[in-house]
Point group: C2
């Protein structure tokens, strides 16, 4: 039943750039460079790479910490020590003993929310966690309750593990969402980035069994991190380059409409709306 | 930073039955048996087991097909042939050539929706795909737009692959959602079950690379299915037994409220609502 499956596959595929182009397709000029100092590359000892775009504009203190941690090579030799099904993969220092590099703020300001919802395009409908959700001009998904704004906990978003509130986390221990968006964490924890390449290197890891919480019980299960580097700290020729789609033009608004109303012939009933985590702003590796 | 991660873990854990019990905790009598003929056990050749509860009451023609396919041992020796990150794992006959067993309806009625929203408890807020979502008396999540009702495409839900609309699928090729709920598929395809054990046997599989659609390009990548059996076709002593939580009492309504408003000390800001896919009706293996 390969016929039976291909349409299902097509249904999920990003709007295809098949001829003739659709009015919502990106033009080459719609792709904007992600700054090299927002690109953090984790290379696992197994050779897989997990690349995170840092939300430097929204969470500057956390991102300053993360850059300092990367530059100190603090993550080199650390591990992914927790993988909980339909929730998160988490990495950093499982021993809790490694001192933070100089200059890293152990408990930064929360940076969970900010006052202004600076979306340049929005979705049609509210969701149970936000009255409005949309897109920043630099390619981030954002949500609001009318009083404050934040980055929602979608698949692939990267957050900072912390102790009980009101404690905050340094950024040394990070997690990525690998299942249905745990939006109840919105406004309760700092989202500092998004995995833009290699999320499957985390989402396919064996689930841990510790405490019913996905902890690897035997340190032999830990998945070692070989290195973590900012692209901006690599020689220019070695930097991987990524792009986000321009969210400010009419084509992008048509793209939103197409996400909210999937098209025939596979779909017979358009939803009339979309959840921000099913309509994440497009990113890609630079061609 | 183990302290830093444990609270995050606790945050996701189902309400704990720690002493003293919470008013929303299930009592032993709250756990109801899932009928054996609704339990379909796929055993992979690697020894992992994926157990599906069939939505027999909502999708009777599809489920009759699926039971007939299982009884004919049609899936034995077939494969998981597609795994697309943040979308679905799909299994059945990758060759498209295997004849269906006698009595199986090749194109059943759609059974995508039904007229009555028979929820006995509901969530507080709408979502972008439904005006209301809630729980049936026998432990299924259901959604409605006020005119019709359906089972939403949440993590772990099992659907029937089909060709382009208006074609429907026999049930020989099934998929399970392994990422953020693709709710745009709601009302466009039949959900016939829910994985109640072993979803990680699918969600941890390597992602396929075919067509950008998660197809395994080399048949050597296929993950073989050893057997597929209904629990009701096994000797009584060998049947695994599962239970769903009673959704009809006040304790369950308190459970919903607790899912919508996660508690301190980890959470400082309750969401005031939840997405049905973040509040799936509890199921468990019988103790």
């Amino acid at each position: 039943m390969l016929n039976a499956l291909l349409p299902l596959l097509l249904a999920q595929a990003a709007p295809a750039a098949a001829p003739p182009p659709k009015p919502y397709d990106a033009t080459p000029a719609d792709w904007k460079a992600i700054p090299d100092d927002e690109v953090l590359i984790f290379t696992l000892a197994n050779g897989r790479r997990v690349v995170v775009r840092l939300a430097a504009r929204y969470t500057p203190v956390h991102v300053a910490n993360i850059r300092a941690i990367a530059r100190a090579k603090w993550w080199d030799g650390e591990t992914v020590y927790r993988v909980q099904d339909n929730y998160v993969a988490q990495w950093g220092d499982a021993t809790e003993k490694k001192p933070l590099p100089p200059g890293v703020v152990a408990n930064p300001p929360a940076e969970y929310v900010w006052p202004r919802f600076d979306a340049v395009a929005t979705l049609t409908k509210p969701d149970p966690y936000a009255t409005k959700a949309g897109y920043s001009r630099d390619g981030w998904p954002i949500a609001t309750n009318g009083r404050e704004a934040w980055i929602p906990h979608c698949y692939g978003m990267v957050g900072v593990a912390r102790d009980l509130a009101p404690s905050t986390g340094s950024g040394g221990d990070l997690y990525a969402n690998i299942g249905h968006a745990p939006r109840h964490l919105d406004r309760n924890i700092a989202i500092v980035g998004r995995v833009i390449e290699g999320i499957d290197a985390l989402s396919t890891l064996p689930r841990g069994t510790g405490g019913g919480l996905g902890l690897y019980e035997d340190p032999k299960q830990y998945v070692p991190i070989a290195t973590a580097r900012l692209a901006s700290d690599l020689p220019a020729a070695e930097r991987p380059r990524y792009q986000y789609r321009d969210t400010t033009n009419a084509r992008f608004k048509l793209w939103i409409a197409a996400r909210e109303n999937r098209e025939p012939p596979f779909f017979t009933v358009p939803a009339g709306g979309a959840d921000i985590c099913n309509a994440l702003p497009p990113v890609r590796k630079a061609p």
